[in-house]
Assembly symmetry: D2
Homo-oligomer: 282 residues x 4
């Protein structure tokens, strides 16, 4: 559900703060009676869940989404006996102040901050945070050659191509961190985002696979509280247009941006001492 | 990638047959060299994969998507030594003949037939097929009451509500079936779809959870080659509009269709003798 | 706004009838005070408009969308002195009965029935109805050659191509028809749809322009109450894949369906005796 | 079609420049032969149009989209005798440099810069430019009261509400400006955008209609080459959540962001000396 939390005058300069979230809740537990006999005594309505989200947003103020998710999940597991596990997803949309009013904002781009918090009555809490739809592009410093050639290979090798992707990254926090209500989530997000961008721009790329590995490693290096990173990088192809039929040279100037990302490169990078993931990714 | 396979004159009445697919390929294996050193000798380009899809569609003709996926996955695993696993997803879009030309068709609705085929060098093949975006609605025969009441309960109980959802179902085939190139996939799809619809219309519903369980059970009953069903049913709420302020009675006649499905009901139904899922769902 | 009107037991067989609409309202008139001085005494809130839509749906029952739009528009213009013109758009989504319950339905495909009704205090009523997103395809009976060749022509001529489009058609009713609350709107829609399909399947096509003209003419021929037809036909290209590099012949069997319809063919066909369009299209 | 033009090393700091466009072309003229007889001698294929776009992007370099559109439109009208009018639409997507490489970029948000150029053999050129999807929000300084009350009024008056919209604005340039290949289009866009934002943040709003008028007037004041502004402002409602059932006060802190913008406020502001619009808006 979409909840916008305004904290009036709470910014350092006296302006307002905004948290703009899409919150999804998923509860599991003993639902056999509902499934088999239509007995709803264990089914907490989504409407009640929604009300709790709004009330908790009121109570907690403009906290980090991870902090909110941990509190919300713990509430469901502790207050409803049949519910043994709660999974809370939050997508956060960014807003930047505009003008000098203190109350005016503009949506800041496509990118979305995400978190998935799981609290299980027996296994405890896990937190996976991430970033989605950060679209980046290098106009050069990318090659692709040396790949295997079979009967279906027609792709020419290239020593200079455009490399573009929409970064979808998630990092899993260490269990001791996930147990803290406020473990510096905002600073960790900022570090992870900066690490992803720095690795993308700073890696001379032989393949998107190599870039992916560099990006994942950079997050582990710069965010010590994270122990695993998963990345999905669609290869947003930019095809150099053949202008020879029109008597023109096209020396890496005019590209056709493909509509469909053929090739979604997926991978994960694990710290050497990463504890077991438990329920974090499920 | 989007591939349309026309089989000229192959229909029983002498008209054309069409298979309209979106095929996605995902290969895994030993990619350490690519990730760490930018050595691409183990990286089969997506472009080569795409070429193989088109060539195979030419060779195999208008086969069932499961048959196509099994053959494609086996090709990648057997022909590329570093590749140990291939996962093929096919979405099939339906077309119905129109007119009497034999060559004219109209897209038949939103619903999509899906399949996910996984072939692993060590663990063999698995097949999960499904249906997506089948939107159904009962104007009555649905109640919702008897749920737990806490401090955040405001939802009134109802003995008669509209029930609507977009059916997203997947069923896992038994391993011996998944090993066959052609195991009656088309007939199984038709049976599963009919079972889902019959269970939705035929279940007097105390909750969407109960309806979900009935739908999953119906697929297991009517498709013996399936051993597990997973369902995602968004609760597409239809709110009875309060017309009392305007002096009007609204006896289940005028509804506001909600834009956002608050509440995604998820569940799975497993046959008693279902073998281990292995890689099927991953 | 989304309104679903259920008429219990109103179908010929005793089952329910459903009208599922997205209604948009646009009112114009003297709004200078609001724009210049923030005086809202002439601004009818959209919330009040929404309430009227629900109340009118209750009163009128499951009528044709044109009938509903004419009544709604007339209400706004007659009841609010500063409002001199109302434009009502209705999109109708289809539902087909499933099973034998009388209360179960499935969404019937992508295609949308549309109407735009305009009532002006001085100029009277106009009605433009239409169909959207009817996706059709001929696997043959389409050529494209004889076009002008300039320095930028690389397209090879073809004597046999696939022709696919998403039909977006609107037809304007004659003013005397638009003045009737119920002028057989449902039958006219059915005739127009049938005419569009018959012309698409029955026209041996030298270009999508030619097909468009045939479709528009067919609607005028079969729907005498219509006097003008406007069509937008995106050219949904299907490219024959070159399989020669793999030693395969591709005799019109394997196509790549383009993601983006390069080329939107637009045109309109006017009856010889068509009266002036007035406000119908604005 | 999607064309990305890279100008290597052309930025003031020696980095690359990028223009990322979606270009649509629409040609009109004497197409009777094609429509009636399937004679394509007057039908310039979209494929040839596409080729010309790429070739012209190569020739012209990273120019403003208006400059590109004027040149492209003039080419079609002057080089193809049967074509009497060309309409070119360009959407430009923004990219911002990231890192210090000179070749790395990130997509800069949702907002899109647009232009529509029309060149008619008889009537000359017109240019309409704009901005789309600039999402802005004021957390206060907005009221809504004093509106007419009828039998369908249930909306409570408010002296303090959140005001949010997605700005879709287009401004028409004066004909003498539209005749120039390069009339400072980039600077005019920057001024118009700044004027829109300043008017949105700086207007104490009695209605979105009043804000719209202020925004349009600001563009006319700050961009002297523009003579007409059209705006579409969807009212993105944020509803204050009622927390009283849970014993909580909600003093403008927690809002439910509506999914659907009920109410699209449309309006245009015309300079006193604005010349006739001709074909600009059609």
């Amino acid at each position: 559900m979409r909840v916008v939390r305004v904290a009036r005058g709470a910014a350092p300069d006296g302006g307002d703060l905004i948290r703009d979230w899409n919150v999804s809740t998923s509860l599991s537990g003993d639902l056999a009676a509902a499934s088999l006999r239509g007995d709803n005594s264990h089914v907490l309505p989504t409407d009640s869940q929604k009300n709790k989200v709004y009330a908790l947003a009121r109570d907690m103020g403009p906290v980090e989404p991870e902090t909110f998710g941990l509190s919300l999940a713990a509430f469901f597991v502790s207050s409803q006996e049949p519910i043994t596990r709660a999974r809370i997803e939050v997508e956060e949309y960014g807003w930047s102040p505009i003008g000098a009013t203190g109350y005016s904002f503009a949506r800041s781009g496509d990118l979305v901050r995400t978190t998935v918090v799981t609290v299980d009555a027996a296994l405890g809490a896990s937190v996976v945070s991430g970033i989605r739809d950060l679209v980046v592009l290098n106009t050069t410093a990318s090659e692709f050659w040396g790949y295997p050639r079979d009967a279906y290979t027609t792709l020419p090798e290239t020593r200079d191509r455009m490399l573009a992707t929409a970064v979808n990254a998630q990092w899993r926090y260490r269990p001791d961190v996930a147990a803290c209500p406020d473990a510096g989530w905002g600073a960790a997000f900022a570090s992870a985002k900066a690490a992803l961008v720095a690795a993308f721009t700073g890696t001379y790329s032989s393949s998107l696979q190599q870039t992916l590995y560099a990006m994942g490693s950079a997050v582990l290096a710069d965010v010590p509280s994270a122990c695993e990173v998963r990345l999905e990088l669609p290869n947003k192809h930019h095809y150099l247009v053949d202008l020879a039929p029109f008597g023109l040279v096209n020396d890496r100037e005019v590209y056709n941006a493909g509509d469909r990302p053929y090739g979604l490169i997926e991978g994960h990078v694990l710290a050497d001492d990463a504890p077991d993931a438990g329920l974090a990714w499920t």
